[in-house]
Symmetry: C2
Subunit: 361 residues, 2 copies
């Protein structure tokens, strides 16, 4: 592509997926004068109500993809489980898709992802490919008495994963993930979960936001505190990890890299998401250029924006019926409230988030 790819304001940006990430991408695109077309199978999705155009069709609908390719100057994704064939089709129809096929394909398959990360010299949990109960039994002695079994594909927010409590649990555990192709990961005795949100532009330039400290509940992100209180060595490591992944993937856009901090500060990579990331929502109120504008800048071939924090932010997800508490949150002068326009709350569903600003440490 090179640095000459630079979309003028007024260009149309295509987004596959119309949830909250697509919605916040559309809002950021609008600030820079871009229009957005959303492709989403569900009618009345959150992003559709802030976008110039919505195509309601399955993600792999050929006519819809041809339409996107014809009318959008660049196409991007709010989620990583876009079939690789969709990217191929988009590109066959002449679209520019960012991030590209390699990042999507790698992140979709936990075996490919871990293999890729390890090939970059990055620390990951020991793992084994699992296609049968026998594979679990064979791998356990190496990975530890207790190990984490995850489906290779389509797991998110803790779905599709279960702990194998020992050899006796192998058969039951495999049944718990419906016997699907899987990965078995050694337990990582981490002290904290961190993440780094980073971006790579069309010219190869890289910008990292300061890492955040994440707290999960039942596999779902509950809070992020950013910038996290980490040592300079850990910061340098996190930036090096993000940079290595972005470079090796020839990536364009924003990536979210989930990290485990070990006793002593060394980092182990958990996984990456080839998109804007829930743990980067703090940047909406904590940075001059938030992760959504940064992603738009990157895929549009614009220069990346500054990533220095203006404040320390505590981000809390509003899950399910917690968003019904909007009146109290709106009255809290300390809380910046973001609501996603979802019509129906379900337990655990991400309905919004709150950013609370603190002074920088």
């Amino acid at each position: 592509m090179g640095a000459t790819f630079s979309l003028p304001p007024g260009s149309m940006i295509g987004v596959l997926g119309g949830g909250q990430l697509g919605r916040m991408l559309a809002l950021a695109a609008a600030r820079l004068g871009f229009d957005v077309t959303v492709l989403e199978p569900e009618p009345d999705c959150p992003a559709s109500r802030v976008s110039a155009r919505t195509i309601t069709a399955p993600y792999d609908d050929a006519a819809a993809l041809e339409d996107m390719a014809r009318t959008c100057q660049v196409v991007t994704f709010e989620f990583e489980n876009v079939p690789a064939a969709v990217v191929d089709q988009l590109e066959a129809f002449g679209a520019s898709a960012a991030p590209g096929r390699l990042a999507l394909a790698t992140s979709q398959d936990r075996i490919a992802e871990k293999t890729f990360l390890r090939a970059q010299g990055l620390a990951v949990a020991d793992f084994a490919q699992i296609d049968s109960v026998a594979d679990i039994a064979a791998a356990l002695p190496r990975l530890g008495s207790r190990a984490l079994l995850k489906t290779r594909r389509e797991g998110y927010d803790g779905k599709g994963q279960t702990w194998v409590q020992g050899p006796d649990d192998a058969e039951a555990a495999f049944a718990r993930i419906s016997g699907r192709p899987a990965i078995l990961e050694a337990a990582v005795p981490f002290t904290r979960e961190l993440s780094v949100i980073a971006a790579r532009g069309r010219g190869g330039e890289i910008a990292c936001y300061p890492p955040g400290e994440n707290h999960h509940e039942d596999g779902v992100l509950r809070t992020t505190l950013a910038p996290a209180d980490i040592s300079l060595e850990t910061l340098t490591q996190a930036e090096a990890i993000a940079g290595a992944a972005l470079q090796a993937l020839d990536y364009v856009g924003v990536i979210g890299v989930e990290l485990f901090e070990m006793p002593g500060g060394a980092l182990v990579v958990n996984e990456f998401a080839p998109r804007v990331h829930n743990s980067g929502h703090w940047t909406l109120d904590g940075c001059q250029v938030d992760q959504f504008e940064q992603h738009v800048r990157a895929i549009a071939g614009w220069p990346l924006g500054p990533t220095a924090p203006l404040a320390r932010v505590e981000m809390t997800n509003l899950l399910g019926f917690e968003a019904d508490d909007w009146a109290r949150l709106a009255a809290d002068p300390d809380a910046r409230l973001w609501l996603y326009g979802k019509r129906h709350a379900r337990e655990g569903r991400k309905m919004g988030h709150v950013n609370r600003l603190r002074a920088l440490a």
Copy 2:
């Protein structure tokens, strides 16, 4: 209405006018989980591309107004020249309109506006009602050898106004404004132009942003520096002026009050705009809750947000072809760029603005 009027997220907010102010209102509404319907005669307007629904019709189209009243839980305006009859029709169809008829009607007519402000005990320029050349000749001895002639209605950005250079110029000056009903204002020997952006909620609570210092070129706002470097006395005066106007108008929403600072710091009110205001665009990057979210909060019956500045901001309008410089501005890490999605630049047309952050004084 009282404090019991509180729209839940998911409610529809109607906006008359689809320009940049409507667009930025729609973006703010979306952050809080609201949807927006825009009524605008011009197709493909800036706000339409970030709104759930657009009605393309004249502002006084009865069917369109009935539709807005039926589908929107509150209706607001991005400009002050909405005919009073439109507000009446909206209310007759059952809509809640904010700000109300009184604020719109008062601000539409410069004689009514000055008379209203003076009745609140606020300082305004001496003025006279002008319906003929003879009225100008009669008023000049009182107002000074040189005075400012403005059409009573529909002037903005310096349009519909001209200096009367003396008695000999009376006839020509009246011709320059096409002999329309007018006001003649004494020259105000001010040292600076300031403005204060303030909001009043459904419960009568008031919140003021710190005043900004404005610089105009050819009658059009060029820059705002906010918070302005003013004395505590001037600040107190500005807040008192805004408060008095909001209270007397039983106002709901954001208002922009333009002020002249006299030698010594006394303030003279120039005019007010019953809407979000160009000189409040600095709040987009300088405050936790910007003027657009503040307006949405007020009209939705939500508590007002904090107005303390996080930074000092220099806002510069991008007029006409200046927005073609987007690539340079996008590369400036110090510039927060806002573009309005207007399809065609015209000389002097507001195409976007840039906020530059400085440390607070």
